[in-house]
Amino acid sequence: MTLWKRFSSNTGAMIGVIILLLVIAIALLAPVIFPKGPWQMVQRPFLAPFSTDGLPLGTDTLGRNVAAQLAYGARVSLLVGLVSTVVALLIGVPLGAVAGFYGSWVDEGAMRFTEFFQTIPNFALAIVLVAILEPTLTSITLAIAIVSWPPVARLVRAEVMSVRKREFVDAARVAGLTRRRILVAQVLPNTVSPIIVMASLMVATAILLESSLSFLGLGDPNAMSWGYMIGAARTVIRQHWWLSFLPGIAIVITVLALNLIGEGLNDALNPHLSRKARA
């Protein structure tokens, strides 16, 4: 409750929440607002925004409804962002937790493994993975997750290592709890704050990454995404700049919102602040 209070008193964070809710609403309602879907060619190509009734944002290179594309694009971008983050957490959290908690060779092994993924540049690795798996929504999501988990593992490891040293962990050991129980029930719950903050930023990064892949032609041709829109419209950027501008703005706004939320969470969860409140 106090957390929410602290969070909601942060104007930036609240703006972020409102924007994000709006984007989510649009994404969810896309099939209702635009029953024809994003691919249907409805009018002449390259109609400017606000020029035609029923097509508020005009049409694209093939005469498809840009507004519909944006709405459906939100679905894909958010989906990729959320799912890849969840998958990255599913890989990173257990690995980092085990490495940080058990230490010694488990840690060494896990960290070497993590290091391997960190030595290949993120984006290059994502490109190769998508090429290997062929671009589908699933493979793109997976590729993004695979390149995003190492920082999670590192963060969780560091957190677990510091929580592990806290006295209540000793207390649990003295009480005779098993190590696994201690890790799951005592240590991990105390690492969620930084993980939540990181996750909110990862969603943002994943959206950017998906759009970059799409820009390079490594998007799923069956999924309308914002990155796809920019990639497709960049060839006509000179004549019809708004076709790449609108999805660009959509990405910027959504990523911005997620960042604001992340920072708001960070402030709200920041142990410094809460300690001050306690003293």
Binding site: W39, Q40, M41, P45, T61, L62, G63, A131, E134, P135, T136, G217, L218, G219, D220, P221, N222, G231, A232, R234, T235, V236, I237, R238, Q239
Partner: protein
């Protein structure tokens, strides 16, 4: 005509190598077409012209081709060029390295050089299109003194190609540009006019357009900018464009329909696809009005084209009828686009839309160039976009896509759809070896009429790739291969 000046031409993508005898992909042909030469060149009407051969005769039975070579030709390294080089190139080197030429050489009995300036090709049986085999990309003449007895693929001289052409290789800054300089010892008096050529590597299509606008480059060969940019660029002041220079290739686009399995193995389904497609729309919107809707396997730009065939207009109702007749159950079909940039991607999307409008369940597959090659050559697709060159004659560039003997796994340049029609096969083969053009004309007309009803593939468009250039660049596109050997006579008006 004025001498001097420099020409900047976009080359896309960057060629993997410049040794034309070893690598024959598009960009290599474009750059190396200035360095290497073959015996003949072809006008935009596909009439043979002298190149390394100054004259030639064909025996009446169509079996013996005799070429007289130019005098005083030297290689770029100063060595004299002789008939022995031609024999080495055609009979030894290219037989080993050049798959496309190899199929024409199958008709050849012997290649001989009775003296230093004469070469004689003797065929086993008449082969009408043989006269079209002396284009530089088809039969580049390579220096015997450099390659004889070496491992061609790893010969160090591949990095600094030596030809007889109007321009010499100077420098290749990987990822940036290839620099060619004028061959001062070129055997044609007064040629070339230009001092130097820079082939510029710019990976992004939008950046290529910017490069042209800002004056960085003078020539955008066909296909180097996206179609949407073409009208904008050609409307700029002092900019000209031409659709010529592709006659030899006559790129013909279609979708392979897998004849072996799935809904596409049903002729009714294939016909339904033809009716479902709005090819006019694609031509107007996706290709910005460039190109011609294809009526059948042979391009209207080459010889032996006939329009006396069933015409498939955009008729969704008809398509639905056909689908109902065959009892299409909604089984999804996978469409594999050609991974050559946004235009092709849009095209695939338009096709998907057309097909789904008549009730066909479509899913776009996606992959990169390597994956596309793999999938098509392994027949792992339902419908797949492609386009092929026709090389001036149906026997060279068309029949290979439809005859059963060309059903070979592992290559995307043959009868990939698996169309097997023995009766037609015979007709294709007969037409190739007929001696007079008139005979061939009727034979091909008959073939076209029959095959169009079968719809082995879904013919789409005869593509047109306009070359965009500054108007002060003169005489650049004069032959059937356009920019590939155009700089030889091109000049810049000051």
């Amino acid at each position: 005509q004025q001498d001097g000046g420099r020409l900047d031409i976009v080359v896309q993508p960057e060629p993997p190598g410049l040794m034309l005898g070893l690598v024959q992909n598009g960009p290599t042909q474009m750059v190396s077409g200035d360095i290497y030469e073959s015996l003949l060149r072809y006008t935009t009407d596909l009439e043979p012209q002298p190149s390394l051969a100054k004259s030639w005769t064909i025996s009446d039975d169509g079996l013996v081709y005799t070429f007289k070579l130019q005098d005083g030709v030297t290689w770029h390294d100063g060595e004299p060029f002789t008939a022995a080089d031609v024999v080495f190139s055609a009979d030894v080197f290219l037989r080993e390295t050049h798959a496309r030429l190899r199929s024409s050489l199958a008709y050849v009995q012997s290649i001989e050089a009775p003296d230093d300036t004469t070469v004689v090709f003797t065929l086993k049986e008449p082969f009408g299109p043989f006269i079209n085999a002396f284009e530089v990309g088809t039969m580049p003449i390579v220096p015997k003194h450099i390659y004889e007895g070496t491992d061609y693929a790893t010969n160090e001289m591949n990095a600094t190609p030596i030809g007889t052409g109007p321009f010499k290789f100077d420098k290749w800054e990987k990822g940036s540009y290839i620099h060619l300089v004028k061959n001062e010892d070129y055997y044609v008096e007064g040629l070339p006019h230009l001092d130097e050529i820079f082939y510029r590597v710019i990976p992004d299509a939008a950046a290529r357009a910017v490069a042209f606008e800002t004056g960085e480059v003078d020539v955008l060969p066909g296909g180097s900018v996206e179609n949407w940019d073409v009208p904008r660029l050609t409307e700029m002041e002092g900019v000209c464009s031409t659709g010529k220079g592709w006659e030899f290739f006559a790129p013909h686009a279609w979708m392979w329909l897998n004849n072996r399995e799935g809904p596409t193995s049903n002729k009714l389904f294939r016909q339904a696809v033809m009716y479902a497609l709005d090819r006019e729309f694609v031509k107007e919107v996706v290709w910005n009005g460039f190109g011609t809707v294809a009526t059948g396997p042979i391009s209207s730009k080459t010889n032996f084209y006939s329009d006396d065939v069933t015409i498939y207009d955009h008729n969704p109702d008809k398509a639905k009828e056909l689908l109902a007749e065959m009892g299409y159950d909604g089984e999804p079909v996978r469409v594999l686009p050609l991974p050559y940039g946004e235009t092709w991607q849009r095209w695939a999307e338009a096709v998907r839309q057309n097909l789904s409008e008549v009730g066909i369940n479509v899913e776009l597959d996606s992959t990169d160039v390597a994956g596309w090659n793999e999938k098509t050559s392994q027949w792992d697709y339902d419908m797949a976009f492609t386009y092929l060159y026709q090389y001036g004659d149906p026997a060279l560039g068309v029949s290979r896509n439809y005859v059963a003997s060309q059903i070979k796994k592992g290559s995307p340049w043959n009868n990939v759809e698996g169309y097997d029609n023995p009766a037609l096969d015979e007709k294709w083969n007969a037409a190739a070896t007929m001696v007079t053009p008139a005979e061939r004309e009727t034979a091909y007309a008959e073939i076209q009429k029959e095959i169009v009803d079968d719809v082995p593939v879904a013919w789409l468009l005869e593509l047109e790739f306009p070359t965009i250039y500054r108007c002060n660049v003169k005489d650049l596109v004069t032959t059937a291969i356009g920019v590939n050997d155009g700089p030889r006579g091109a000049w810049i008006e000051q």
